[in-house]
Subunit: 393 residues, 2 copies
């Protein structure tokens, strides 16, 4: 099977399309179907690698995380999982020690500096993570001006189906990523637009504008979209948790409120985030006590602020005083905390909840969700699905 | 190097970030830097694969398209190219016969059903394919209604920097993909938003709205964005070249003209496309003779319409009569044809040019560009860069 590396594939395909041949042979590995979700919800992985000595598959869908694949007489290696619950799963193959994406699928996701193949098992919450029949919203990558950062910065904005055609104003949900993420993370790993589309289509969530900014304020945009060239993605970025981003957050809100038809009161504004983004959400809301009636901390990195002092240190000062003041003035606030039982931040979140409980004033509605597992996207998708249904009601 | 497959990478990274450790070891292959563009414009590829028997690199940047990589004592395989001209290059590794993306880079592009790693050599036309300093436009994935197709369909719309803040109207450029492509193809493989951003920033192109629709009218959207689940991308789609898409094209223009601030005359409207998209552009313009003063055929699949008769067959009838009529009525039309010397459509394009030359009436300005190579994205990026500078002037 000769791979036509000159990108003449289109030419070849057009020829075969004319002649009526099957085109699969031209696409390298595409005569292999992988992954295949079977009727019994097991999943079969396959890789043609007659010359490889050892092929494994790794991922949380595998018992023990890594399993050896078995080679058949044609040199095709396969492995079938146990039945899997409905979910989105990441995986990789390991071919003679080299971790690779599955060459038989184009469904890959970047998580900071690593690429994973993925698939979705339907029939449960995984259905929220796939486009379904029904109207879907538009998704834009837009540049807003950040005088604090001294640059234009990129964010992702979802507008619900019908936004362009209508005249009404919508509530806004600001959804923040974690360390190593960027303005693309919630849309890709987090399936946020699919979740919100599906919840709205089913009448379970209010039509809303969903804003997914970039929380790394030293960075213009996701890697590849900055003028720094094709940089290697990294978590080693300055100013992620030193108050600068939270202090500059009104610039994001200002752009959204100037450029979209939005309702501008606290009852129609939500902020939530995962890990670093949960940390950001905590301090953004506490420092803007009149702005958000819906606040969500998903596996939040409570108290993990930078120890370096700078002009933005005030953001982190007296947070419990600020929270008490916010709840006192706005008794209707809905406060959501989600954490996995195995999360390395579990204890920190327990302590935070104790301190919340000790405040003189409390949120109008308080929701604590504890899930299995640790600091993982599966949990953040669950929290988002749960939280989004409570918003603006 | 144990790969943390449970997606706990973020957790781990947050820990190491706190502790100040280098995080690379956690990311699988990231202690290897690959690809590296060297000062002399050679490029070095590297892959850690101590257990592999044979590792190759393939791509058009390699003399002969495929080269063996050499293993060092640490099990790292490397290969360095000859000096490369400024360009975007796709490549893959072949590890014991398995074609893979480079696990040390996250810069990958899908071409129909195959994934490629890529890099850009700067210092020439490759600079157009990277974000540069200066204002950049917003990019949206929007759903428009196609009564002809009986569904909502997705397209990509670029609005130039300043669009949101201003009030003026803009010209519109409809840019169409080839067989196997979709509404994502020009933005990814074609680098269209970078090219247009950079040309506008340099004053070489007029600020414009760039519309990149999906030309597969049986399809809602690119794979993964439809309600058919995570389908394997394919070129085997019905109704791609039977007239239905061209007949329905006014639905796309209607959406754009209803939802964006656009100038609605022929002098401010352009249509161009590659391969099947060039074919579409030819028939869309010929059948709408009052609509487009700027028409570009990039390696156009001249005359490759489906032989099946259907109600849209009129689209392809009497094309030379239609063209003669269009040029007679609109003597200012700018007509662009680009083709590679090795393109399998070269002869068809020569014949088309002869027939154009035999018409009683001709375009006001006619541009024929012949480039090296065949039916490849390198050429389409070159044609786009050239064509876009002529628009709306």
């Amino acid at each position: 099977m000769k791979k036509t590396m000159r990108n003449v594939a289109l030419m070849a395909l057009m020829c075969v399309a004319q002649l009526g041949y099957a085109q699969q042979a031209l696409w390298g590995n595409n005569s292999i179907k992988s992954p295949v979700v079977n009727a019994d919800k097991t999943v079969t992985f396959a890789l043609r690698a007659p010359e490889a000595q050892k092929v494994q598959v790794g991922g949380e869908c595998i018992n023990g995380n890594v399993a050896d694949m078995q080679k058949d007489e044609k040199g095709v290696w396969t492995y079938t999982t146990q039945p899997l619950e409905s979910e989105l799963y990441l995986y990789n193959f390991i071919v003679d020690g080299v971790r690779i994406s599955d060459p038989s699928t184009t469904y890959t996701i970047r998580d900071t500096g690593s690429m994973f193949s993925y698939f979705i098992v339907t029939g449960g919450k995984g259905d929220y993570y796939l486009p379904q029949k029904g109207l879907r919203g538009n998704v834009s990558k837009v540049w807003y001006d950040s005088p604090t950062a001294g640059m234009k910065r990129r964010m992702t904005v979802y507008t619900p189906a019908g936004y362009e055609q209508g005249k009404q104003k919508y509530p806004v949900f600001y959804l923040l990523h974690g360390m190593g993420g960027d303005e693309d993370a919630w849309g890709e790993l987090g399936r946020a637009t699919q979740i919100i589309d599906n919840l709205i289509a089913q009448g379970k969530a209010e039509p809303m504008i969903l804003v997914m900014p970039n929380g790394n304020i030293s960075q213009e945009a996701a890697p590849g979209y900055t003028f720094e060239g094709l940089k290697v993605p990294t978590t080693a970025l300055p100013h992620t948790m030193d108050g600068m981003y939270e202090a500059a957050f009104p610039e994001i809100m200002g752009y959204v409120e100037s450029n979209y038809r939005v309702k501008k009161d606290a009852q129609h504004r939500a902020v939530a985030g995962l890990s670093m983004g949960g940390f950001h959400s905590l301090y953004i809301s506490a420092n803007n006590p009149d702005k958000f009636n819906f606040i969500g901390l998903f596996s939040a990195a409570i108290g993990r602020f930078s120890k370096d002092k700078n002009e933005y240190g005030y953001i982190y000062e007296d947070v419990y005083g600020k929270l008490d003041n916010m709840f006192a003035k706005h008794p209707g606030i809905y406060y959501y905390i989600g954490i996995g039982k195995d999360d390395f931040l579990y204890k920190d979140n327990c302590e935070f909840r104790e301190k919340l409980a000790a405040l003189a004033h409390h949120p109008g509605e308080y929701k604590y969700t504890e899930t299995e597992g640790g600091h993982i996207w599966r949990n953040w998708r669950i929290y988002l699905t749960e939280f989004a249904q409570k918003l603006f009601k």
